[in-house]
């Protein structure tokens, strides 16, 4: 009996440490990591959630663009919507700005490079925008009603070039701020 309860306590401790170790800066899991993971096991707030955790609220017209502040785009690897650790700082800077300016709304504009199917790229661009949104809601605690998404797929490249550097630049989420 004692031995079993010791094992039980040890397992619980290990499990607790594992969960606690995720912290607030975890990148959302992408496809291919573990497609059969049960969504219920991991708390969305601890992980920053996945895109599917936060339904979009209503849709609001854009409003007046905010000037005088500029945030870098979030960049993505090919065919991926995983947010690299290097991109987190920029997202959290936007989070801080939104927290300090409660009258500002955000539209996350998701983009892809020109390769691949246009229709799939509309979904991939949207998923990239939703991944950033999930981090802002789950980690930075911004109200989801203030954040919308708009996918442009491959329709609006930043760089019209047909090479790796252009494609890298085009795989992005842009921050469009409005009042």
């Amino acid at each position: 009996m004692r031995k079993h309860s010791a094992v039980l306590r040890l397992s619980t401790l290990v499990l607790f440490c594992a969960l606690a170790g995720f912290g607030c800066r975890r990148t959302p899991r992408g496809p291919g990591d573990d497609p059969f993971l049960d969504d219920d096991i991991l708390s969305p707030h601890e992980l920053g959630g996945g895109p599917g955790t936060y339904p979009l609220g209503g849709r609001t017209a854009d409003g007046i663009p905010v000037t005088g502040v500029q945030f870098d785009n979030v960049q993505f690897a090919y065919d991926s919507f995983q947010i690299a650790n290097s991109e987190i700082a920029e997202i959290e800077a936007v989070g801080r700005y939104l927290a300090e300016n409660p009258d500002v709304r955000l539209v996350l504009e998701g983009h892809c490079d020109e390769r691949g199917s246009r229709e799939y790229n509309m979904s991939l661009g949207e998923y990239r925008a939703l991944a950033v949104r999930a981090h802002l809601i789950g980690v930075c605690k911004i109200d989801g009603a203030r954040i919308q998404t708009r996918s442009y797929g491959e329709e609006q490249p930043l760089d019209p070039g047909h090479n790796e550097s252009a494609w890298r630049l085009n795989r992005r989420v842009e921050f469009a701020l409005f009042r």
Binding site: P31, D39, E114, G116, E119, Y120
Partner: protein
């Protein structure tokens, strides 16, 4: 099944060269060396003589004949026989009738005297009339749907303008459909070919619209928060499959056309879904999902059982279209990075590569004859639409105009 009858190969000089190819194509066509003239590599063809079609010596008459000949050739089933020869013949007259024309004609088999049909066709436009006659010939002689009267919807890009266009299958009558200055994509036809569904940024966000081709009246079908895209109408016209991200993730939904009620079909929150296409019986949907890390094809049925993966090769399998005979065509990213078209039988998973070579082939759409496919061919980042033949005829370029042309959809009739 088509009936072929015996006819000797005309040119003995070419017989040796053509023999091997003929054997192959005839074998492929399931025939036994019958009413067929092999004129070039590709599918077997029946020789048909249209000289028996008497037309007035007017522009309309000449247009009718030239269009009829071109339509019969484009169908892939026929070669135009020199005058007075050929086992098959079109016979009849074209005459003015009121403001328009009347064609009274049919197709016969000279050898047996069999009459395939005899009908009257009326119309104002000699091209349209010829299309109708050609389709009837294909239907009655070959037992398959004709494509002469069909059209292709597409996006034409000129600078930053991306509008919807429609043209006849022979490239005539190119018409711009949208003109709002907003980016449009992914047109799909209503089953009766009266309207198009498409995605547009007209309202500032990607929304799905329906535009009536006759009245040009536009209505918004889906404007939910987030993404609204990839809309495809079911064959019975009652449901629209589309990708929406309103619940926080791009998933597939079906919208009832009448009630606009939504039913969610997929619940994979850690991946994005896209590109739904209905099966010809309206019971199943093929779509793209990246749940394994890369976009692949899946099939689900309306009863909502767990979707089944059906594509297993290639780094990406995207842009599926489900054809009238049950085969699925899609674009696959090959090892070297090129996109090629493949044809997949969903039940056996048997896959055949349709295209090859130094270009990217994407965005395929089946013709209602279940034989031809329109697709995007991109070389050096310039895109044009090509008509491909799954039975071996050479590709034919459809778009010969300035700009980039993509997102084709072949009309259902």
């Amino acid at each position: 099944m088509t009936e072929f009858r015996h006819e000797p190969v005309r040119t003995r000089r070419r017989a040796a060269a053509a023999a091997g190819l003929a054997v192959l194509t005839l074998w492929a066509a399931g025939a036994g060396g019958q009413d067929v003239t092999v004129t070039k590599p590709g599918a077997a063809k029946s020789a048909i003589d249209i000289d028996g079609m008497r037309v007035p010596a007017s522009a309309a008459g000449q247009t009718f004949l030239a269009t009829l000949a071109a339509d019969l050739k484009r169908s892939g089933w026929f070669a135009i026989a020199p005058r007075g020869t050929g086992p098959l013949a079109v016979e009849g007259t074209l005459r003015p009738r009121g403001d328009g024309l009347l064609a009274d004609c049919g197709a016969v088999h000279r050898g047996t005297g069999r009459s395939y049909f005899r009908r009257q066709f009326t119309g104002l436009d000699p091209r349209r009339l010829a299309h109708a006659v050609a389709d009837e010939i294909v239907q009655e002689v070959k037992g398959v749907a004709g494509i002469a009267s069909t059209r292709v919807a597409m996006v034409g890009a000129h600078g930053t303008r991306k509008d919807l266009y429609v043209c006849d299958i022979d490239g005539a009558n190119l018409t711009r459909i949208t003109s709002q200055g907003a980016v449009c994509l992914s047109p799909n036809w209503w089953p009766d070919a009266s309207a198009l569904l498409y995605t547009s940024f007209h309202g500032g966000f990607p929304d799905v619209y329906r535009i009536d081709l006759r009245t040009r009246r536009r209505s918004k079908i889906a404007g939910f928060p987030g993404l609204n895209a990839g809309a495809d109408v079911s064959p019975d016209g009652r449901s629209i499959a589309l990708a929406l991200s309103r619940d926080g993730n791009p998933e597939l939904y079906v919208m009832d056309v009448r009630s606009q009620r939504l039913t969610r079909l997929t619940r994979w929150t850690r991946s994005s879904e896209a590109s739904p296409a209905w099966s010809p019986d309206g019971e199943r949907i093929v779509f793209v999902s990246d749940r394994t890390g890369r976009p692949q094809l899946y099939v689900l049925d309306r009863r909502g059982r767990e979707p089944e993966r059906i594509s297993f090769g290639g780094r990406e399998c995207v842009a599926p279209d489900w054809g009238p005979d049950g085969r699925i065509v899609y674009s696959r990213r090959m090892g070297g990075g090129r996109y090629q078209l493949c044809i997949l039988e969903p039940d056996s998973r048997h896959t055949v590569q349709l295209t090859s070579g130094g270009a990217d082939y994407e965005d395929p759409s089946w013709a209602p004859d279940g034989r031809h496919i329109v697709c995007v061919r991109t070389v050096n980042y310039r895109s044009d639409l090509y008509l491909l033949d799954t039975m071996g005829d050479a590709p034919v370029r459809l778009t010969t105009w300035d700009g980039d042309w993509y997102s084709p959809a072949w009309s259902p009739e």
